[in-house]
Symmetry: C2
Subunit: 511 residues, 2 copies
């Protein structure tokens, strides 16, 4: 029903197909014969049927959805193995080494950058699914930390923590279908719009199995002994090893919440307000700026205003005083209160726009798939840039995206913008593109947009990704932005733990 | 006068010499002839006189002070070079490569872990002093960031930022004699007791000159593209390259401040209160727990109570409400208000104990040197550990330190404890030792203490250093605690940028 309402809203702007493309059925899969079979000891954990292999061929990007809708399964893994425990992971790497097979660590499979996709490589491919490593193993109540296995998906992990009164409070958009190990491997961006925006800050220690043996850091609240070892594994996207477990810093469940929505006549006023909030030291937990089109599409607004959603939360103390000061700042920059400050003590429901936004936020990946079935180019991309370059970057990205969409005939299109994470020195803008695609050429059209966007990011001093990771799709931009000597150091560090180059070859670095 | 008062206080506990050992005079230096001379082009930046070389032989640890007082200059650098700019640094590395000389990057020379000391190596040694690279090169007001050269010392850097209304607010104890580059190279711990405790969080991008060329990251407020390159350089202690400049995140000068002092009858009650504050999400800027002896020695208290110094600051909003809640928590855990909440709006002077503590804090390194001249073993060490292990660790460290001091005849001694930095999952305890040393054997006595402490840290799951760095002195503990495969990765990463092993050999890793 929600879906239908959105489709109706979009039909005003966009030509949607009358009939959705049906998702493929199991008997439409027709994969090539697997090139390897597991050794007997590992066979009980392995599947080589078409369904398992097709399900592990892609992540969840628009490109992945379209290829599935087109019944194209490029480079499916030969075997999907689900080791029952960490020793099983060791056994899988040992088998891969003997078989000279590529290993792709697989958590929830929610990559939108080709991060779980097989390389264009002669070697057989093993998708190593961590689904069985899903338990919270230990809870340290006094340090508010827990040892959690890497394969645990968001809801499962939170359900196991709830009896302890604790929560990780990491809610990426992929929450329902992504795993702790995946978050760590990709430096996932989460719930908090300011301060602790990424999973990085919540990793106390981490353990991975590499082809050269276990790699594990110690539990310290902080250490100044040399470069942080965790930080080399954070964002390593599976190239060093299979992350098996981590000690994570947790939170008490929030008892106090307050939120409000402020409207702006111009997007740049909203940006000024967001910057003031990011630099205020108030550290709102939520602070998302939606442009008017994004507000309309998500149902958070009616499209007349750009909206700034502001929220505070605490397990310890009332947060109304912080919200009050935040609203002063927000209104000083030209804002008008659209929905008044709401304190959960008085009324447990969040603001309408906030609730609508949150619901839309978590539904978005499913909606995007539906829109792809209706013939649209339907995708998002994101970046981060310092404030001094912010306005020029957003204008240039918007103009470039629209120009290329026009040029490739994917027009009229809707390009919306929002700010997902804020920092004192900059912010992470996020773009959604909805455009009518060619029936058979949507991926080529999208490729042109994406290539042009990467060029603009590079030219504008913006990163190729704030929280979508690099994978295979962002390699060109990543290669441009990272220090060349650091790339060489990464390669050298990989050779130490994975001399045969079994793990995710081509992700982040070339062999 | 302040110094005299302290000496009087200490004479109650400790046998101090009547006469202080005189510091060495320039004509007492008698260094071996330098093994290399600079090429003509570099000669104007170079000094090989005894004074320059002796001044760059050691850092500022107790061991360094005693060796200087004993007129021992072990392995002085052959040449001290002060390149005028970054090109000069390139020229120095190029000369070192040709001369097969070791290069030791030198900022303020405040290392307390042997971090600027020459290795036991056949090669000639060049101390590369960054003093001339001391300018703030650019200020980006909208992003509140500045590009600062690495050789700038604390006061100089702050003086250059002041006209812009900005401050780095990084105040390690060595503030007056340490440099931005040194802070970055050692992951220095700073002003803030919670939240942004380390320089790490304020580094937006960093540039270093390595023997293989420049190594520079881009300015992003945050990026999720691969492992953070900055984090490999942060804490690298000069083994990869000479840090020449960095874009740093700055703050507005605080307009609102509020502080109070709470007393505890038992240290462990104070620890409980500190933990509650660390987990409250209030993020006090100051939150230092001093045990009664530390309070007495520093003059912050009279020795009857353990003291918790709590302070908040903000450039944007009043902080009294945060202090009020913090005091509720502090008193819930058995505390008594010793000095009432003070709001700078009403009265600009800080609390007596806080003021006394701050003054003592910055004076401490000088005092320590004076006490060494009076014959004491006078040194500090620190660590960090999760809360579940905290009490046992502090008890064991205290007992071990006292046992060894007794065993080596350095008794009666004073061992004081404080907490310097707090995290939701643990804290950084800091220990000060004052003990009567043998006239000629103080360093051997101290070595026994330090060795025993490192063993306790390792056995108790505590890090070898929270913010003093590794250098040469902490190598044994560091080698035990870091992941072995990570050590191999560090070595591989070093070979990429410094294949001849010119830079700080033996610091962090063996060649």
């Amino acid at each position: 029903m929600e879906q239908e309402r959105l489709t109706q809203r979009l039909r005003v702007f966009l030509p949607l197909a009358d009939e959705a493309i049906a998702p493929p059925t199991p008997n439409e899969l027709n994969l090539p014969t697997p090139r390897i079979a597991p050794p007997t000891a590992l066979a009980p954990w392995c599947r080589s049927d078409d369904l398992a292999r097709a399900g592990h061929t892609y992540g969840k990007s628009f490109r992945d959805v379209v290829r599935a809708l087109e019944r194209r399964w490029e480079r499916p893994p030969d075997v999907v193995v689900t080791p029952p425990d960490e020793d099983g992971v060791v056994a899988v790497l040992s088998w891969a080494s003997e078989a000279n097979a590529v290993v792709i660590p697989y958590g929830g499979g929610s990559s939108v950058v080709g991060g779980v996709e097989a390389p264009d490589d002669e070697r057989p491919v093993i998708s190593c699914d961590l689904a069985a490593l899903r338990r919270v193993l230990q809870v340290d109540r006094s340090s508010r930390a827990a040892l959690i296995q890497a394969g645990a998906l968001g809801p499962d992990l939170e359900a196991q923590l709830r009896p302890h009164g604790l929560t990780l409070r990491h809610y990426p958009q992929s929450f329902e279908v992504s795993s702790l190990g995946g978050w760590i491997a990709t430096r996932s961006g989460g719930h908090f719009a300011t301060l602790h925006t990424r999973i990085d800050d919540f990793v106390e220690s981490v353990r991975a199995i590499t082809p050269a043996g276990p790699w594990e850091t110690r539990r310290f609240p902080s250490s100044g002994a040399g470069p942080s070892p965790e930080r080399l594994l954070l964002g390593s996207e599976g190239i060093f090893g299979v992350i098996t477990q981590a000690w994570m810093r947790l939170q008490e469940r929030p008892q106090f919440q307050a939120s409000a929505v402020v409207g702006y006549a111009s997007f740049s006023e909203g940006v000024r307000a967001a910057r003031a909030l990011a630099q205020s030291g108030l550290w709102p937990s939520n602070c998302r700026l939606l442009d008017a089109a994004e507000a309309l599409v998500s149902g958070a607004g009616d499209g007349t205003n750009h909206l700034l959603l502001i929220g505070f939360e605490s397990a310890d103390h009332p947060v109304k005083v912080s919200l009050t000061r935040a609203l002063e700042l927000a209104c000083d920059h030209g804002g008008t209160l659209i929905e008044p400050a709401k304190d959960r003590d008085a009324d447990p429901t969040p603001n309408d726009a906030t609730r609508q936004w949150r619901s839309s936020f978590f539904r978005a990946p499913y909606v995007r798939d539906e829109l792809a079935r209706l013939g649209l180019i339907s995708e998002t991309f994101e970046t981060a840039v310092t404030w001094d370059r912010f306005d020029a970057l957003v204008d240039r990205i918007t103009a470039t995206t629209e120009d290329v969409l026009r040029h490739v005939g994917a027009w009229p299109a809707v390009v919306t913008r929002r700010l997902t994470h804020l920092y004192p020195d900059g912010a992470a803008p996020y773009f959604t593109v909805l455009a009518p695609g060619h029936a058979t050429g949507r991926l080529a059209q999208w490729r042109e947009v994406k290539d042009a966007v990467i060029d603009v990011l590079e030219a504008s001093g913006a990163t190729v990704t704030h929280h979508h990771a690099v994978g295979r799709d962002h390699r060109r931009g990543y290669d441009l932005e990272r220090p060349p000597l650091f790339a060489a150091q990464l390669r050298a560090a990989k050779r130490v733990v994975d001399p045969a180059g079994l793990l995710n070859p081509g992700v982040l670095i070339d062999p």
